[in-house]
Symmetry: C2
Subunit: 126 residues, 2 copies
DNA sequence: CTAGATGCAAAGAGTTTGCACGAGT
DNA sequence: ACTCGTGCAAACTCTTTGCATCTAG
């Protein structure tokens, strides 16, 4: 894997991002650092990084893929339907339950896609 | 909502389908019954039905939307990664756990998207 | 020096839409 | 009749790709 200027820039942008940007957003952030980057390169790089396990592709609907670095492990997402804000969570009991359900159906679970879409509870309800 | 021949045909095809067809597959099945249906009409009808709560749109990846009738209630999906076969399951404990996690994070869950992607266990492992 | 990366624009895939014609109530 | 639906093709959005050029190792 050749370390080009573009790849370095995109990798840097990714390491600074703790949200879940789509390609266009990555392109925006990358060209802000170095304008000599094309959107095609962002697509190609993102795919390369995904193949090398550096990035994980997520699909939260809306037709565009979004990306997150793999370096903070396995987790699920809770999306605020009003703000679009994406939060992460993890739960061992949940993981165990899912694996059990899969096994009961005769399957070994390879990937789980779990997203909760919710609305913030009012203070008085919490 | 005007009951046209095309809509009647598409509705009929849907009622016969217990899988999760995409638009192209619906188009194929519908034109087999009545060839005077265009793909644009299938797209429009599917959207209409979704807005009226008759259909639910699902996205199992692969870039195309897939549809299922809403008349068999709330459930989750297990997708066989080798065959692409989609199975449905339900689990009360799981639902309760998810609601609890949401509440703990200060959210009321509106929608859940949960798909397990797995590989059939070999007989000896089951 | 040379394999591989980039930019650009064109091509793809899935989906939507403008417009004139056609059909349901 | 009059409104709404349909077919067709063009338009749109996101993503990929062919090709000539450039660059890292």
């Amino acid at each position: 894997m050749k370390l080009t200027g573009q790849r370095r820039t995109i990798a840097h942008v990714l390491s600074e991002s703790d949200d879940h940007p789509d390609v266009e957003e990555l392109y925006r952030r990358a060209t802000a650092v170095d304008p000599r980057i094309s959107i095609a390169t962002v697509y190609r790089t993102v795919r390369l990084f995904e193949e090398n396990g550096i990035l994980r592709r997520r699909d939260f609907g809306g037709g565009r893929a979004r990306y997150e670095t793999t370096d903070h492990g396995d987790h699920f997402h809770l999306i605020d339907v009003d703000t679009g804000n994406v939060m992460e969570f993890d739960d061992e009991e949940l993981k165990a339950l899912l694996a059990g359900i899969g096994a009961r159906m005769g399957y070994e679970i390879a990937t789980t896609r779990l997203e909760l879409y919710g609305r913030r509870l009012k203070k008085k309800d919490r």
